[in-house]
C-alpha cells in the first residue's frame, strides 16, 4: 500500500508540484537567509582569523569588538612581554584613515600595521610582491579587491608616476586598478604600493591597506594611544587560557584566545544591532510561507483523497496503515522539497562565491532547514491524519 501512497502523491501533478514548490521555497528561504546571516556575521570577526596563528589577543578591557577604536599606550607592549609564559608579543595597528588618490578623490581606508620585525599579523595570501617588501620606505600593500574596485587610478597615469602640479583629471575618463609602484597619500603622507594581498571580506567595507606598525603610527593622527592590540604567542607548554589569566591579572588588559575574541565580537553585533532580528524575521517568513503553501497544499491533497482513504478503510485498511501512507507521502514530499530548496541555495552559494555577497552555509544550516521542513510536514500531515483517523468508513456509501 505504501507504493500506492507514493503513486497517489506523484500522480496528482498540480498538488504535488505545489507541495514541492512550497517546501522548496521554504527551505530555500530558510537556508539562504541563514547562510547570508552566517556569512555576514562571520565577517564581523574575519580579521581575527586573517591574522593567523596567534595564541592571544591583548586589548583594552572595555573593547567590545575587534574594529572598536580603543587603542593602548605604547607601554602595553613591554608590560605584556614581561608576563611569564609569553614567548613573543607584537604590536598591531588597526584604524580607519583617509587615503587621497592622484585624481584628488579621498577614500576612508582600513589600515593595518603589522610588527616590523616579525611581520606577525600579515595576511596569508600575497597576490603580487612580497610581504617583506613592506620594510621598504613608504611601503604599503593593498587588498586586491579594493585595488580593482575602490582605489582606482586614472588610466592615463602610469604606475609610479606622480601627477604634475595643477594637473586635473577628467572624472569621466577611464580608470585602472592600483598597480605596484603607484603612489597614494595616507593622512597626507606618502605611501607607495609594493604589493597586492588577498584577505577575507570584513564587516568594514573600506579598502584594506597593510603596512608595518612603525609606519602605520606615523600615518595615524598623533596620540599617546595608537596601538590597537598586542598579539601574543605563548611559550611551549603554557596553556593559552592560563596565560590569558596571568596577563589580565598583571596588566589589567583583556587577553583572549582568537576564538573567544571572535565570539566576543560576534556577540556585540548580535546584541547591539537589529541584524539577527531582521534575518530572523526573513527565516520565520520562510517557515510560515512553507506552512501556508505546502501545508495547505498537502492538506488539500489529503482531503481530495479522503474518499479513497475511506474506500481503503472500508476494504479493511487499518487506521495505522492509512496514517503510515499519509506520513510517507509527507516524508517523500518533504525530502524532495528540501532537496530542491537546498540545491537552489547551493547553486546560489556557488554563484556568489568569491564575490561581495556574504554567504556561508555551515553544515548545521541544511539540518536546520530539514528540521523546519520536517515541522511543516508534521504539522500538515497531523492535520491531514486527523481527518483520516476521524474518517468514518461508512461515509463511502454517502459519496464522501
Amino acid at each position: 500500500m505504501f507504493r500506492f501512497a507514493i503513486k497517489m502523491l506523484f500522480g496528482d501533478n498540480a498538488k504535488f508540484y505545489g507541495i514541492l514548490l512550497g517546501l522548496g521555497f521554504a527551505s530555500l528561504l530558510i537556508a539562504q537567509q541563514a547562510s547570508i546571516f552566517v556569512g555576514l556575521m562571520s565577517r564581523t570577526f574575519a580579521f581575527i582569523g586573517e591574522v593567523g596563528h596567534v595564541d592571544l589577543w591583548v586589548f583594552d578591557p572595555t573593547q567590545s569588538y575587534v574594529d572598536e577604536p580603543k587603542p593602548l599606550r605604547a607601554t602595553a607592549l613591554p608590560r605584556v612581554r614581561g608576563v611569564t609564559g609569553v614567548a613573543w608579543a607584537a604590536p598591531l595597528y588597526k584604524g580607519l584613515l583617509v587615503a587621497t588618490l592622484p585624481d584628488g578623490s579621498r577614500k576612508v581606508c582600513d589600515v593595518v600595521g603589522i610588527d616590523d620585525d616579525t611581520l606577525a599579523g600579515a595576511p596569508a595570501e600575497v597576490v603580487a610582491g612580497s610581504i617583506a617588501d613592506l620594510r621598504m620606505p613608504d611601503a604599503v600593500m593593498i587588498e586586491v579587491g579594493s585595488s580593482q574596485q575602490q582605489l582606482r587610478f586614472p588610466a592615463d597615469l602610469p604606475p609610479g608616476a606622480v601627477p604634475a602640479p595643477g594637473q586635473v583629471f577628467d572624472p569621466s575618463a577611464p580608470m585602472r586598478p592600483v598597480e605596484i609602484g603607484d603612489i597614494i597619500e595616507l593622512n597626507e603622507r606618502r605611501a607607495r604600493v609594493v604589493g597586492l594581498v588577498r584577505c577575507a571580506e570584513t564587516f568594514v567595507a573600506a579598502p584594506t591597506i597593510y603596512t608595518v606598525y612603525s609606519r602605520a603610527v606615523t600615518y595615524a593622527p598623533p596620540s599617546r594611544r595608537v596601538m590597537s592590540t598586542v598579539l601574543v604567542g605563548a611559550n611551549e607548554g603554557v596553556a593559552p587560557a592560563d596565560l590569558a589569566a596571568r596577563i589580565r591579572a598583571e596588566t589589567g588588559l583583556e587577553a583572549m584566545q582568537p576564538w573567544d575574541y571572535s565570539m566576543r565580537t560576534l556577540g556585540y553585533w548580535m546584541r547591539e544591532t537589529g541584524i539577527p532580528i531582521n534575518f530572523g524575521i526573513a527565516i520565520a517568513l520562510g517557515f510560515f510561507v512553507g506552512v501556508a503553501i505546502a501545508g495547505q497544499m498537502f492538506y488539500n491533497f489529503t482531503l481530495d483523497n479522503l474518499r479513497y482513504f475511506g474506500a481503503f478503510k472500508a476494504m479493511g485498511a487499518s487506521s495505522r496503515l492509512l496514517l503510515g501512507m499519509v506520513a510517507l507521502q509527507a516524508l517523500v514530499a518533504g525530502v524532495l522539497g528540501l532537496g530542491l530548496g537546498l540545491g537552489a541555495v547551493s547553486a546560489f552559494g556557488l554563484s556568489a562565491a568569491g564575490g561581495k555577497l556574504a554567504f556561508k552555509m555551515l553544515w548545521q544550516i541544511p539540518l536546520i532547514a530539514a528540521g523546519a521542513v520536517l515541522v511543516i510536514c508534521v504539522l500538515a500531515s497531523v492535520i491531514s491524519m486527523w481527518k483520516v483517523v476521524r474518517l468514518d468508513p461508512a461515509d463511502v456509501f454517502k459519496g464522501a
Binding site: 500506492f4 474506500a311 479493511g316 461508512a394 463511502v396 456509501f397
Partner: protein, 241 residues
C-alpha cells in the same frame, strides 16, 4: 419478518437491530428493530425510499457501523464482539464493496485499483496486479490493466469496481446502487455477473438499489421503510428458509 432458519443456511441473521444517530431532540432513529435473514448463495436486494435506512443497514452488515441494539451474525460472527483492528481485518477478508461512485483511485492504474484488496491481505503488488489482469480479462477488460481509470467509460469503470470487489473472493458482497451510472442493458449485464458470482460461490450478495429494471435478478427483495423491513418478497428459485 424473517421466518425460522438454521444457522448453516444463513449468511446474515439480524434480530431487532436498532441504530440511532445523534442524541436528545436531534436524535434520528435510522433503524427501529430490523429483522432479516439473508441466505448464503443468494442475492438479496434492499429497496425503499431515500432515508429509509438502507445505507445504515448495509453499513452495519458490512461491519462499517456498529449497531446500538439487537443481534447480528454475519457468517456466524457477531461483529460487535470484534475490536476495531479485528473488525478491519474481518472486512478485509470477508467483504467486497461496490460503491455507487466507484471510488477508483485516479492516480493508480486499473489493475492496481483492482489489486488493492489482495495487497491489503499482504500479497505483493506484482502478484496482485497479475491476478487483477486475469480477472479483468474475464470481465471483458483485457489489456486495460495499465489504463487510468478515468480514461474508461462509466460501464468499464463499474466493471473495474466489480473486479476489485471480487478479486479476493469475499463471502459477502455489498453493492450500493451498482447500476445507477449504467444504461439498462449494461446494468442488466453487470447485475447478471454479480448474481452469477453469488450463486457460483455459494456466497451472499446484498444490493441496495432503486433500479426496478434489475429487480427480476434478485432472489429476495427486502422492502424497507422508516427504519424497518416492511416486506420480503421471495422470488422463484430461491432457497426456502
Amino acid at each position: 419478518m424473517a421466518g425460522a432458519t438454521t444457522a448453516t443456511d444463513l449468511a446474515i441473521r439480524l434480530r431487532a437491530v436498532e441504530k440511532t444517530f445523534g442524541k436528545g431532540e436531534s436524535a434520528v432513529r435510522a433503524l427501529r428493530g430490523v429483522d432479516l435473514d439473508v441466505p448464503a448463495g443468494e442475492m438479496t436486494m434492499l429497496v425503499g425510499p431515500s432515508g429509509c435506512g438502507k445505507t445504515t443497514l448495509i453499513s452495519i452488515l458490512a461491519g462499517l457501523l456498529s449497531r446500538d441494539k439487537g443481534e447480528l451474525e454475519v457468517f456466524g460472527q457477531d461483529l460487535n464482539a470484534l475490536r476495531r483492528d479485528r473488525l478491519s481485518a474481518w472486512r478485509r477478508d470477508n467483504v467486497g464493496f461496490i460503491f455507487q461512485q466507484f471510488n477508483l483511485v485516479p492516480q493508480l492504474t486499473v489493475a492496481e485499483n483492482v489489486s488493492v484488496p489482495l495487497v491489503l491481505k499482504g500479497e505483493s503488488v506484482g502478484a496482485a496486479v497479475k491476478k487483477a489482469n486475469e480477472l479483468l480479462a474475464t470481465l471483458g477488460l483485457e489489456g486495460r490493466g495499465k489504463s487510468a481509470p478515468l480514461k474508461l467509460s462509466g460501464g468499464q469503470q463499474q466493471r473495474v469496481a466489480i473486479a476489485r470487489a471480487l478479486i479476493h473472493e469475499p463471502r459477502l458482497l455489498v453493492c450500493d446502487e451498482p447500476t445507477s451510472a449504467l444504461d439498462a442493458e449494461l446494468g442488466r449485464r453487470v447485475m447478471s455477473l454479480i448474481r452469477d458470482r453469488s450463486h457460483q460461490h455459494d456466497r451472499a450478495v446484498i444490493v441496495v438499489t432503486h433500479d426496478d429494471r434489475i429487480f427480476h435478478l434478485a432472489d429476495r427483495i427486502a422492502q424497507m421503510d422508516d427504519g424497518l423491513i416492511k416486506n420480503i418478497e421471495i422470488r422463484a428459485g430461491s432457497k426456502p428458509l
